[in-house]
């Protein structure tokens, strides 16, 4: 540890999720393996707790596949309105938008973007669970979805379905 001396104080209580997941030993291993990377930028307890939380997030992602709600390759577009809280009373309005979104997904996304979009948006697969299934990283999957979102919004704006009220932010 750097001699600058991080301020130590009693460890704050763990978040509820950590207490409910038997990940303490794995979290401790993760922290122990990274001790040499601590640079004193924060309290040691904050830094250590960060890795415990990452460990729990990853473990929850792996746990998802023990009882997956839907197969990864399922594709139920009827779920879309529920996913985004569409008001059933406005069915006529969002039906056109949903159809346009589906066309855009089919026409402008590359296969990897489509796979990630369908898994996360249509099937409700947690991002960390998809990371496990695809043998990827959170950052890589997020970037794929980020690019897909940007492409889809651009198409929907160009076709007049969404308002382009933030030029430069598509």
């Amino acid at each position: 540890m750097p001699g600058a001396g991080p301020r130590l104080r009693p460890v704050a209580p763990w978040p509820r999720a950590i207490g409910q997941v038997p990940a303490a030993a794995d979290a401790l291993m993760a922290i122990t393996g990274k001790l040499g990377q601590f640079r004193g930028e924060s309290r040691f307890t904050t830094w250590a707790c960060k890795f415990a939380i990452f460990e729990v997030s990853a473990k929850i992602g792996r746990h998802f596949w023990r009882h997956p709600a839907v197969p990864l390759d399922a594709e139920d577009w009827d779920r879309l309105p529920d996913r985004f809280g569409a008001d059933p009373a406005q069915e006529a309005e969002w039906r056109d938008l949903a159809a346009a979104l589906r066309r855009a997904v089919d026409e402008v996304l590359i296969p990897r973007q489509r796979q990630v979009f369908v898994a996360i948006v249509l099937n409700g697969v947690p991002l960390d669970a998809l990371v496990v299934e695809l043998g990827s990283s959170r950052n890589a999957i997020y970037k794929v979805l980020f690019d897909a979102r940007r492409k889809l919004r651009s198409v929907l704006v160009a076709d007049g379905y969404l308002r382009d009220d933030c030029p430069g932010n598509s």
């Binding site: 763990w14 978040p15 904050t46 960060k50 991002l127 997020y142 969404l162």
Partner: protein, 73 residues
């Protein structure tokens, strides 16, 4: 137009978005800035943008903030 605000919000992307790797790398520093009432968002706008858009990183941020504040039970 814009009859589906949740979809609109989801599809919006922020070019400042730093991504998961950078956000996770600096999360402990960012959390302590927030905890201390310092302008974390101004100092790290890319991380702030990311935490608003990325569910998993946002949850990790909230969990770590709760832990350092000692308000998790």
């Amino acid at each position: 137009m814009n009859d589906w605000p949740a979809l609109d919000r989801f599809l919006r992307t922020d070019p400042r978005d730093a991504g998961c790797d950078q956000a996770m790398e600096m999360l402990h520093v960012y959390v302590e800035l927030v905890e201390a009432g310092n302008p974390a968002e101004q100092r790290y706008p890319g991380i702030a943008a990311h935490l608003r858009a990325c569910g998993p990183c946002g949850e990790d941020f909230e969990g770590l903030l709760a832990a350092v504040r000692g308000d998790a039970d």
